[in-house]
């Protein structure tokens, strides 16, 4: 029963993709949207069915044997447990809302069919990723997500910058994928299986905790997760990925793609527990990404880029949680983040469409009256992002993370987390103020066309807004029993203190932001315009210069070598015999000058040479 529901849940998007792909332009925009949205809607229903019929524990269903050579026996098989169901719910639920909103957002765009085909495939791949019972099938979904992101980021393909962004997203995540692949090779070699359950069972038996192999395997898997989840240093693709339509950004950031890394590490928790050093590294990377992205978000002018960096920052929180062994907290934050980030993106989308594709904060402003729904979405989503105490979902999940960090005695990480909370307040307020308050910066912002469609515009925003409040935190079931014990579960001392601290940080952030952006605007602008402040601004605006660094270290040498090798120097070397032959030919043909005398000369020369050689040979050659 449940197996059926699960199969249906990922079959619907697949069928949707196929219908859309092979319609070859015969479907109109409405029909395409209907198919595209409908298939995900059905998937969401199927997921709901699965959730309802789920009886606990892990249930599996094997469709067929994929490959079978010796020990290498990956199957096309699904495994469903609580984690899977949570992920599925997020993917299909939030995904459905995003699809629905896209029906409004994409109205009048060319290539709706292509858009929905990709979107459906995206959902399908992500579902496969979370459903796969072995790492190879997971990898299949993993790569599929990458491909779909490529197709969607490069959706407006006629602008080559978008193509570049898509390209970058794919290649950077592919670098992570290669690490994951290597991890797979190592795991298979050591454990002889790719089945996740078996791996988790066998790894502790075969590997010493902290052994090199375990560390290496965890490290490689982590590499894969970093790429997909846009953590330092493989994060550079994420801001550029904003080139796609906004619903795509929402899908990538909220429901799919970037959460894959978190899911992977949570899924392979047993593996990481065997490698404490790597666990710590996960936390550190999360903390680093958190801070780095928060600072970068402060200096952005494009609303979508602010959101992008905020995503990176929030994923940093999740990694932080994973790093301290609080897998449940990480997934919790993943879920709430999915709600409010989807809300924020969709609201941003509403603003952008209403203002005729204007997304520069400098050119927006003063919209709060004219776009009330979007404003509402931003307020609620922003509050959740800032983790406004008690009323928002974000507060509960973030608090959990910080508590776990504290419980794990990772004071450093805790401080970073708190600092991040302050910064979050700063950039969120800056974003909302810049977009909705103040003077409009352009004609587009002065005369926006608000969305009016209740079903495709208001409904998704409202639903997500509701989920972003404490209700969202409420409906999270808690997966504690699936994971190894988190540090915070054994003790409760200091939890209250922490909560106060967290609340304080969030409110401090907001207060600081209010003071800075409302009272000291001028002073702030002056600082940002000259001297060290300007340099810092530039540095933050370019997200600490990672792009420039990679450009110098990787891209340019690569381009240089491509240019150098373009003419295939090895082949040129191999052509040397041909050149030699040509030279010899020229020389020999010169001797064929047609003169009998010189023919005789050459002949006599040959004879003489032989005779002289004979005369000089020891004993006359005898």
């Amino acid at each position: 029963m449940m197996a059926m529901a699960v199969i249906l849940s990922f079959l619907f998007p697949l069928v949707g993709t196929l219908i859309l792909a092979f319609s070859a332009g015969r479907l109109g925009p409405r029909a395409s949207a209907t198919v595209g949205v409908g298939s995900v809607g059905l998937a969401a229903l199927a997921t709901l069915w699965a959730v309802l019929t789920h009886t606990g524990g892990s249930q599996g269903v094997t469709l067929w044997n994929w490959i079978s050579v010796g020990d290498f026996q990956p199957t096309i098989g699904l495994a469903v447990d609580g984690l899977t169901l949570v992920m599925m719910s997020v993917i299909t639920g939030v995904g459905f809302l995003i699809h629905l909103f896209a029906a409004w957002y994409m109205t009048g765009e060319a290539g709706i069919t292509r858009f929905y085909a990709w979107m459906n495939l995206f959902v399908f791949s992500m579902l496969l990723l979370v459903l796969g019972d072995n790492l190879l099938l997971l990898f299949l979904g993993w790569e599929g997500v990458g491909l779909c992101s490529y197709g969607l980021i490069g959706y407006y393909y006629q602008n080559s910058a978008n193509g570049q962004a898509a390209f970058k997203a794919f290649v950077v995540t592919r670098i992570g994928d290669v690490f994951l692949a290597l991890g797979l090779f190592l795991i298979f070699m050591e454990l002889g299986t790719l089945d996740i359950a078996t791996i988790l069972a066998r790894a502790p038996e075969l590997w010493e905790p902290g052994s090199t192999t375990a560390n290496l395997a965890a490290l490689l898997v982590l590499g894969g997760a970093l790429g997909k989840s846009a953590q330092v240093p493989l994060h550079t693709w994420l801001p550029d990925a904003m080139a796609g339509p906004t619903p795509v950004s929402a899908l990538i950031h909220a429901a799919t793609m970037v959460t894959a890394g978190v899911y992977l590490i949570a899924r392979l928790n047993g593996l990481f527990l065997l490698a404490p050093d790597v666990m710590l590294l996960v936390g550190v990377i999360g903390a680093a990404s958190l801070l780095l992205a928060a600072f970068a978000a402060l200096a952005q002018t494009d609303i979508k880029r602010v959101l992008a960096y905020s995503t990176m920052s929030q994923i940093g929180y999740m990694f932080l949680a994973l790093g301290v062994g609080a897998f449940d907290a990480a997934i919790f934050h993943l879920v709430t983040h999915a709600f409010f980030k989807a809300l924020l993106f969709l609201s941003a989308g509403a603003v952008i469409i209403s203002c005729h594709h204007e997304q520069d904060m400098g050119k927006l402003g003063g919209l709060w009256r004219k776009l009330p729904v979007a404003y509402g979405g931003f307020i609620v989503g922003g509050a959740a992002l800032v983790a406004l105490p008690l009323v928002t979902a974000g507060f509960f999940s973030k608090d959990e993370i910080l508590w776990q960090a504290m419980a794990a005695d990772q004071t450093g990480l805790l401080i970073v987390g708190l600092l991040g909370a302050v910064l979050t307040g700063l950039y969120t307020v800056r974003l909302i103020l810049g977009t909705f308050h103040g003077e409009p910066g352009s004609d587009h912002a002065r005369h926006p066309e608000p969305g009016t469609n209740v079903f495709t515009h208001h409904l998704p925003l409202v639903v997500l807004a509701v989920l972003s409040t404490f209700i969202g935190a409420w409906i999270y079931p808690g997966l504690g029993e699936l994971f190894p014990q988190a540090p915070g579960e054994t003790t409760d001392s200091g939890h209250t203190l922490l909560q106060v601290l967290a609340m304080g940080a969030a409110i401090a952030g907001l207060a600081l932001a209010g003071w800075l952006f409302l009272m000291r605007r001028q002073w702030l602008d002056d600082i940002a315009r000259k001297g060290a402040g300007a340099r810092l601004w530039t540095l933050w605006h370019h997200a600490w210069g990672f792009d420039a660094l990679f450009d110098r270290v990787l891209v340019r040498p690569w381009q240089w070598s491509v240019r150098m090798l373009r003419f295939d120097f090895i082949n040129m070397i191999m052509n040397l015999p041909a050149v030699v032959a040509r030279v010899f030919n020229a020389g020999l043909v010169r001797a064929q000058n047609g003169r009998t005398r010189s023919y005789a000369l050459v002949m006599v020369f040959g004879a003489t040479l032989i005779l002289v050689a004979l005369a000089l040979a020891p004993g006359g050659g005898a």
Binding site: L601, V604, T608, A615, G620
Partner: protein
């Protein structure tokens, strides 16, 4: 005997040098005849009078007359020969040195080996040669007869002066 051998050898060599360096065809032919006669004397000195006689009759007599005849027929003059340049060392040095080196190599090889046979000038009569030729060598003689026939046919064909079709000449040799 020995003296005759070396003396006529010297004459033969000198006359031959005259042949290859001469510019006047008729002079060169005369030099060649001298050289051939000198070689014939060498044959006599070696004890092969039959060979010597044939050398004079056939070579100096018949073949050289043919040369003279052709030279007369073509009415060649010394100036007709366009070898102005050949006095320049650049043109004769290489081939001459090559020929000398070859000679040196041959002489060196001749000096290295050998069976120590000497020629004591014992006479070998024409009869012995004839017995050989018309005994076991009969087939060879027949073959040389065909050789002469072939030469005859070739010479008669190539030597044709008149063209059967005058305009034919234009056809050939177009590049």
């Amino acid at each position: 005997m020995e003296l005759a051998f070396y003396l006529s050898s010297l004459v033969a060599v000198l006359a031959t040098v005259g042949v290859i360096t001469g510019t006047n065809p008729v002079h060169a032919i005369v030099y060649l005849i001298v050289s051939l006669i000198a070689v014939a004397l060498v044959f006599f000195a070696l004890g092969a009078p039959f060979a010597g006689a044939l050398e004079i009759i056939v070579y100096a007599g018949a073949i050289m007359v043919l040369f003279v005849f052709v030279v007369m027929m073509l009415n060649l003059h010394p100036d007709a020969e366009r070898e102005q340049t050949w006095t320049h060392p650049r043109y004769w040095l290489g081939p001459s040195v090559l020929a000398l080196v070859l000679l040196a190599a041959l002489v060196a090889l001749l000096g290295q080996g050998g069976v120590g046979e000497t020629i004591d000038g014992e006479l070998l009569t024409a009869k012995a040669v004839g017995m050989t030729l018309f005994g076991p060598w009969l087939m060879v003689v027949e073959l040389s007869a065909i050789l002469l026939l072939a030469a005859l046919v070739t010479a008669s064909h190539v030597g044709r002066r008149s063209n059967p079709l005058r305009n034919n000449e234009n056809r050939g040799g177009t590049p």
